[in-house]
């Protein structure tokens, strides 16, 4: 369900342009409001819907069921640390959900790989990934699977 913008609500602040992972939210050249330039490429990630401070972005339901009056809308309140959802079903049932925001501040958890030690051959061959196990908040050894077991059905 790709996103679209309510033009009366949008004030052209650029939050959605900034956050869209598919780079399809852009500013209209005639009215300087946001628009989804290529709905087919929308990942339906809702990042722009949540980021919009004016609740100006909504998702367009697929044609087979959208005329029946469903709605999925979200309100993001950073100061409270909450994401609230309202699901309106086609039969009129309404459900409200509140969840915590799990977004971290920009760049806080992006590892600085260029400053890290170069891995040796043993680490490259290991099944343990970069920053594991500390990155998973544990100091225990992680389980590994013997490489021989990979070859039962896959040959490369």
């Amino acid at each position: 369900m790709p996103t679209f913008v309510y033009m009366t609500r949008c004030d052209g602040c650029g939050h959605c342009v900034d956050i869209c992972p598919s780079d399809i939210m852009h500013i209209d050249e005639t009215i300087r409001r946001a628009k989804n330039i290529e709905p087919n490429f929308c990942w339906e990630c809702y990042a722009c819907v949540k980021a919009c401070p004016n609740h100006a972005i909504d998702v367009r339901g697929y044609a087979d069921f959208s005329p029946m009056g469903h709605s999925v809308r979200v309100r993001r309140e950073e100061e409270k640390g909450t994401i609230s959802w309202k699901i309106k079903f086609r039969n009129g049932t309404e459900k409200d959900f509140v969840s915590p925001i799990t977004t971290k501040p920009w760049g806080k958890f992006i590892p600085k790989l260029s400053e890290a030690d170069k891995p040796n051959q043993e680490e490259i061959n290991s099944q343990i990934l970069y920053s594991e196990p500390n990155g998973l908040n544990t100091k225990k050894d992680l389980p590994t699977i013997s490489k021989d077991s990979f070859k039962k059905g896959v040959y490369y």
Partner: protein
């Protein structure tokens, strides 16, 4: 310069009836342009259909008093202080431009209709209002156009890339800038040299583009935006909320939250 009524000096060469007629024509152009825009975009039809839909999903019926309170709150907060732009540079620039433009236009109308003859004794306040309005429009407008436009700020386009959406802000800026230059040159008493006349002609042309270009520009947003703000706040008050969930009521278990960052990561 700040205390001189430029239209009074102008009335020595241009009859005041011609100036007054031009103001009336421009007012009519705004009405015509807005009506054509409404017919073309069908936005008023959409607005009323949306209001009807919102009424159906309303959780409570608002009394006339409650509706009036919402409208007053919208006018004093959303419209008078453009609160939807949040606390920041965009809001400050918009307020400078908005109030500057209002003062500039009110000053123009009063001086053209009441004090536009060579013998007029214009109260000092009106030329000051006109000049201050033009200066505020100039500052707020250029601040927005050079630094805060989303094209520059979020889309990383150069400041000199001009698009159709710039028609309103650029013609408004041209009107304020040429008006100020014309008034300044006129105050120098250049003994009938052409400088001030050139900038007066540019001032008139920029006003014609500004008021005559309503259909193609964003001029009419100053009529639509207040309407949309009222509808949004009425929908919050009656519980329909455009299908949005209600504000979270138990946030304390989720900690302090995070700060919204300005869009600058393109």
């Amino acid at each position: 310069m700040l205390t001189t009524n430029p239209f009074s000096v102008l009335s020595e060469t241009v009859p005041s009836i011609a100036m007054q007629s031009l103001v009336i024509v421009m007012g009519l152009l705004v009405v015509l342009g807005t009506l054509l825009d409404i017919i073309h975009k069908k936005n008023v039809k959409y607005f009323f259909e949306n209001a009807k839909k919102a009424k159906k999903s309303a959780k409570k019926t608002l009394t006339t008093g409650e509706k009036t309170a919402v409208v007053i709150k919208t006018i004093t907060s959303d419209i008078a202080t453009t609160s939807e732009l949040g606390a920041g540079k965009r809001r400050a620039a918009h307020l400078l431009g908005m109030y500057g433009t209002i003062l500039f236009w009110v000053g123009s109308v009063i001086m053209i209709f009441c004090y536009a003859s060579p013998t007029s004794d214009t109260p000092l306040i009106w030329p000051i209002i006109w000049h201050m309005g033009a200066i505020m429009t100039f500052l707020g407008g250029f601040w927005f156009w050079l630094f805060l436009r989303v094209d520059v700020y979020s889309e990383a386009h150069p400041w000199y890339r001009i698009i159709k959406a710039d028609l309103f802000v650029l013609s408004l800026l041209a009107s304020a800038t040429f008006g100020l230059i014309w008034s300044f040159l006129q105050s120098l008493n250049l003994n009938n040299r052409w400088y001030d006349k050139l900038f007066f002609i540019l001032f008139v042309i920029s006003n014609l583009v500004l008021f005559g270009g309503v259909y193609w520009s964003k001029f009419a947003h100053m009529f639509y935006k207040p309407g949309a703000a009222i509808q949004k706040n009425l929908a919050e008050a009656d519980g329909s909320r455009d299908n949005l969930p209600p504000p979270a009521d138990a946030p304390e278990q989720y900690g302090l939250g995070i700060n919204r960052e300005a869009p600058k990561h393109y």
